[in-house]
Symmetry: C2
Subunit: 506 residues, 2 copies
């Protein structure tokens, strides 16, 4: 932190918000670079997570700041009060939910995006062209035609809302955009497997279709949507006067990483005239690895796909994308230019089409730049290797679980997710659930590792999602060993830190 | 750029995406800091906007990158191909649409957010507490109670979707979330003025209410929603069996900056049992200036307000917010936790409530940090002074327009927006429209200034929005002089650059 000049307040000069002393300002930026990058370089030495101290929380309950504070002092607050207490996903032993680990090239892109400060809702400027470039790369990844459309989003949840809005309007058989759903003569319904992510049901709710209109199809033994059941359900819904509009297929379910039979579902959707949307939040990108091409190539047949850059491609949060094959349907769901947004043939108001024609947002950051930097700096081959490595690690972990008598594998390992539990003989289901939840909490509290929890067919599982480019096989060994050690410790008469299990037993 | 070591490729070491040479990586970050901050320091010397060259566009049509490229080389590409061709809104003479100008403290926050890489969809970590702090400040600004809820969004468009989803579900008289709108016995309708932003109608479309269900209320001579007309329309709608649910009031319309009679509308909404949502995208924040408190204080009476940080508070794009007074209604519209998102009482899965309970997004970046840095570094008083100054500049510009015989003011200046046209005697409306559109294009192409265009009661206007902390009165003088000079030039027999007018005349 040699560049810091303590007390060099960056006081704006004149009336603008620009600094009076540009060199002092730069100095604070340079200090911030050193601070944050050293933190990342040394990340392995620290705990995966630590609770935010109460004193920090109290300081974050301050009143609206009235007067300026020196920027270097604020950086000091960040260093003390924030940097140590992040989500943990930049640590090699973060295995919770599905979080990407970030990457420094992407961080560089985000810094530059914030400073150049483009609004990518529309108009003609370079950020629009960078986003188009990134979308073109996405089409290449999934085998989408160049004339298909797309837009970057905060993530798959918003991508799903956009895709399903297009599907709803295109397949409703009425002018839903103008008239709403109240005028619909038939109830519009869609389908997803019972293992599909909750974001899909939330999209149905937001779009006014209602959660009940998303019919959940049972899964097979491998947690994949049952195609025969789907076929039956569509026929039954038609018979009782509903209008099926869309099927949502999962390319990697959140619980177990199961990949639905995309080709089979695509054929059914073609035959039935339904919109096929693929939820590829993390798993879709496994199409970059040869092993998963047979399972995922049929994404190219879908009408839309939503996926995240911030998960398995490690772009800093947040960054997702939706692609829509029928550009006209996509645009018809969102384009709406008033007088104050009129396009021009040249000048700043040119640049047709505008991105606000493809989604609900008019103000949009330059999210494309961190993606551009990430893909260019690492190259897709290296990024794909990381995905393949995580899948191999999942297989390895699955075998390690099976080789220990007191561990149990709760679902087949199909992608990058391993659901396990510590299950010594003689414990009932309820006891096992409390014990494994307590193990996960202890792993987090002690900073050893951060898996999350879920339920697999009603059984409480320790869920390990390998979406982390920093994880090594050594990290997996530490996890397995810690799960068993903590399990025994929590079961023993005098646990080292009894409060968690005691609390859970109440 | 003295720190750069040319050719020092930042090649990842080992299998992760981390760099092999951390010092080389830092060096590239330091170079980027110098590059981007020098660009901002010298922004006034360059043109406000330049068209992205065709060669750059062609380079942004490359195939998916396979192999890694050196990060410093990529920074070079950014410097050459991107930095000069931004939206223009960081320049002191950008007056188009409503764009904020950014600020460096916010840029620092965004860089740190990208590197710490938190996911603020939920869980217990410091980013959650920083976002709560920022929301608390928002409540303080608008006089909302501490127990109200809120969430940061990409902007007012998404904030409006969230607020109206809560309003729809709370006032529908049926379980819309579960059953959708198809089951609604009555048609749900809402109201906004004919001058309200198009984002409101887009939200009605997205939510399945339909654009037709947003009834547009005529405005008075000052472009404010007519309260008597609204009262009549509600009664008429009830009489024909519709169910009014919400009124959207504008705190600063996009065309002219008009502020609806918020107190009057709030009283009507209370009497009628309607949800009052305030679209305060930019204008709402004028409540920070004493002059506008009488017009804007009634925001505190609204059920929800959406506004942007990236406009008049100059936080880098994108950053908006929605506040909802009835926390339960807000949460009831979005909360939905599946097994894999189960909360815990302690550990990383603690931190109740999660932000994903208040909106459609599960993955969310650490947007709060750039806001925290902006508000702390400048203090709200200085930020408010900037808002007040822009309003004074708008009055000044309005008077300058009126003092020139060949300029015409098309709407009263009520906030920060000035709608004018170059209108020498003897030209018809169509000719004036073509001429003024050509003036705006020429201002942009020549890099002099960047206003946008709109129509005011059918007349083509040059629209100048003063949402720029770098603008000085000198910049306004340059604008006025350039509008008149270009107007005369374009009208003359031998225009200096005739192509634009010629093209427009086709």
């Amino acid at each position: 932190m040699s560049r810091r000049r303590p007390g060099a307040a960056v006081v704006p000069a004149g009336e603008s918000l620009d600094p009076g002393d540009w060199d002092a300002l730069k100095s604070t930026f340079h200090d911030a670079v050193e601070l944050a990058i050293d933190h990342l370089r040394d990340i392995r030495q620290g705990p995966v997570w630590r609770a935010t101290p109460d004193a920090v929380k109290a300081r974050l309950g301050a009143r609206l700041p009235r007067k300026p504070e020196a920027l270097d002092a604020l950086l000091g607050v960040f260093a003390e009060d924030m940097l140590p207490y992040g989500t943990g996903n930049i640590h090699p032993r973060f295995f919770g939910w599905v979080h990407g680990s970030g990457n420094l090239a992407g961080g560089l892109g985000e810094m530059l995006a914030a400073l150049i400060n483009c609004n990518v809702g529309g108009r003609d400027h370079v950020a629009v062209h960078v986003e188009r470039q990134v979308l073109q790369w996405c089409k290449e990844i999934f085998g989408y035609p160049a004339e298909s459309s797309g837009i970057l989003t905060s993530g798959t949840s918003m991508g799903t809302v956009i895709a399903l809005a297009a599907a709803r309007n295109a397949r409703a058989g009425a002018d839903v955009r103008m008239l709403g759903l109240a005028g619909s003569p038939e109830r519009l319904v869609g389908y997803a497997s019972s293992e599909a992510h909750g974001a899909n049901a939330k999209a149905f709710e937001l779009l006014g279709l209602g959660r009940d209109a998303l019919h959940l199809v049972p899964v097979d033994a491998d947690f994949r949507l049952s195609l025969p059941m789907l076929t039956e359900m569509i026929a039954a819904d038609r018979a009782r006067g509903c209008r099926p509009i869309a099927v949502i297929a999962s390319a990697g379910t959140v619980n177990t990483g199961a990949i639905d039979d995309l080709a089979g579902i695509a054929a059914l959707c073609r035959a039935e005239g339904l919109w096929l949307h693929v939820d590829g939040a993390f798993g879709g990108l496994a199409v970059l690895t040869p092993e998963f091409v047979p399972l995922l190539a049929a994404i190219a047949e879908a009408d839309s796909i939503a996926f995240d850059f911030h998960k398995w491609l490690h772009v800093p949060y947040d960054a997702g994308c939706v692609l829509v094959k029928d550009e006209a349907a996509h645009r018809a769901a969102f384009a709406d230019r008033r007088d104050y947004l009129a396009p021009a043939q040249t000048g700043l108001a040119g640049g047709e089409p505008w991105f606000c024609d493809y989604g609900p947002e008019l103000s949009r950051g330059f999210r494309a730049l961190k993606i551009w930097f990430t893909l260019k700096a690492h190259g897709i081959e290296r990024l794909a290797e990381g995905i393949a490595r995580n899948c191999r690690q999942a297989q390895l972990l699955g075998r390690a679980v099976q080789s220990n008598d007191d561990l149990e594998l709760l679902a087949p390992v199909s992608l990058n997710i391993v659901c396990l539990r510590f299950a010594p003989a003689g414990l009932g289901e309820a006891e096992l659930a409390r014990l494994n939840e307590a193990i996960v909490v202890e792993l987090q509290l002690r900073g050893i590792a951060a898996p999350s929890t879920t339920k697999i067919r009603g059984r409480a599982a320790i869920r390990v999602a390998l979406t982390n480019h920093r994880t090594t096989t050594e990290d997996l060994a530490i996890l397995v060993s810690a799960v068993r050690r903590l399990g025994k410790e929590l079961l023993s008469a005098q646990p080292a830190r009894p409060r968690v299990l005691e609390r859970e037993r109440r």
